[in-house]
C-alpha cells in the first residue's frame, strides 16, 4: 500500500509541519519543526501533473496529448496550480 504524506491537519485543517526526520540507513533521528516544501503540499494528482509538465519540457500541447485532454483544459489546470502556488507563497513573504 502506498502511503500518502498528509499535509493538512485532520482536526483543524491547518498546514502540517514535520517534527522528525529519520535516516533510512543508520536510523539517526532529527527532531525539530520543519515546514513542508511547496511541492509536498500539493495533492498526488497535482504533483503528478507538475512532474509530467516538466517531463514534457513545459509543452501544453504534449501534455494535452498525454492526458487526452483539450489544450484549454490543460492550460486551466496549470493556471489553477499557479494560483495555488501564489496563494501558498503569500504567508511566507508578508513583507511583499
Amino acid at each position: 500500500m502506498e502511503k500518502k504524506l498528509p499535509h493538512i491537519c485532520p482536526s483543524c485543517s491547518s498546514e502540517l509541519n514535520v517534527q522528525s526526520l529519520v535516516c533510512s540507513n543508520c536510523a539517526t533521528l532529527v527532531s525539530g519543526e520543519f515546514g513542508l516544501p511547496l511541492l509536498a503540499r500539493f495533492t498526488p494528482e497535482e504533483q503528478a501533473f507538475i512532474i509530467d509538465f516538466v517531463k514534457s519540457s513545459g509543452s501544453l500541447k504534449v501534455m494535452a496529448q498525454k492526458l487526452n485532454l483539450s489544450y484549454p483544459s490543460v492550460r486551466n489546470l496549470l493556471d489553477d496550480l499557479i494560483v495555488k502556488i501564489e496563494n501558498n507563497e503569500k504567508p511566507s513573504n508578508p513583507s511583499k
Binding site: P72, S73, R75
Partner: protein, 185 residues
C-alpha cells in the same frame, strides 16, 4: 457520457473542434434548407418559409460568429489566462451540434402550420422539443465559455448571461443585413 453530452470541450477544443463544428454546421445548414428551419440569431430556432441555401449558410455563420465575437471580448476582459480565439471559435462551433436535431424536427408539418388562434397540441409538443435542443445548446455554450476562457463561479455565470444577450443583439443586427442583401426581393 454526461461529460461528452454537456462538456466535450474538456477533451476537444481548438482546430479539431472548429473543423468538426463547421462540418456539423454545414450539415445543419443543408438539413435546415430542406426543412425550412431558420437560425436567425445566436440562440434562435424558427420554422417558416423556405430561403435560398446561401441565406441558410449565412444564418449559420451569423449565429456562430456573433457568439465568437462577443465571447472572445468577454474572455479577454474577464479571464486572467492566456486564452486563444481558436478555442472560443472551435468550442462555440461545436456547441451548435444540437441544432442538427432542431433542423431535423423542422420536417414535422405541425411546426409550419401555425394558426395563432388554434395552437394544436402537436405544435406545442414539437415546439417544446425544439426548446430542449436550444437549452442543450446554451448549456454547451456555457461550458465552451468556461473551458476556453477559464472563468469560474459568479464571474462565469454573469459574464455568460451578459454575453449571450449581447451576442443575440449583435446577431439580430447582422441578420437584418443578410436578409436585406441576400433574400430575393
Amino acid at each position: 457520457m454526461k461529460k461528452w453530452l454537456f462538456n466535450p470541450f474538456i477533451y476537444v477544443a481548438g482546430w479539431q473542434a472548429l473543423g468538426l463544428g463547421l462540418l456539423l454546421m454545414a450539415i445543419t445548414c443543408v438539413i435546415a434548407f430542406f426543412s425550412q428551419t431558420h437560425f436567425d440569431g445566436g440562440i434562435d430556432v424558427h420554422f417558416g418559409a423556405g430561403f435560398p441555401l446561401l441565406v441558410c449558410a449565412l444564418e449559420q455563420l451569423n449565429a456562430w460568429l456573433s457568439t465568437v465575437i462577443v465571447f472572445s471580448a468577454a474572455g479577454f476582459i474577464l479571464s486572467k489566462s492566456a486564452i486563444r480565439i481558436i478555442d472560443i471559435a472551435g468550442t462555440m462551433a461545436l456547441a451548435r451540434v444540437p441544432m442538427i436535431l432542431a433542423a431535423v424536427i423542422g420536417f414535422v408539418p405541425a411546426l409550419h402550420q401555425v394558426d395563432l388562434n388554434h395552437i394544436s397540441a402537436n405544435f406545442l409538443i414539437w415546439s417544446l422539443i425544439a426548446l430542449l435542443f436550444s437549452i442543450w445548446m446554451i448549456a454547451l455554450m456555457y461550458n465552451a465559455f468556461t473551458v476556453s476562457c477559464n472563468v469560474k463561479g459568479n464571474k462565469a455565470v454573469v459574464g455568460f448571461i451578459v454575453s449571450i444577450i449581447l451576442a443575440e443583439i449583435l446577431s439580430k443586427i447582422m441578420i437584418v443585413q443578410v436578409y436585406h442583401h441576400f433574400l430575393p426581393k
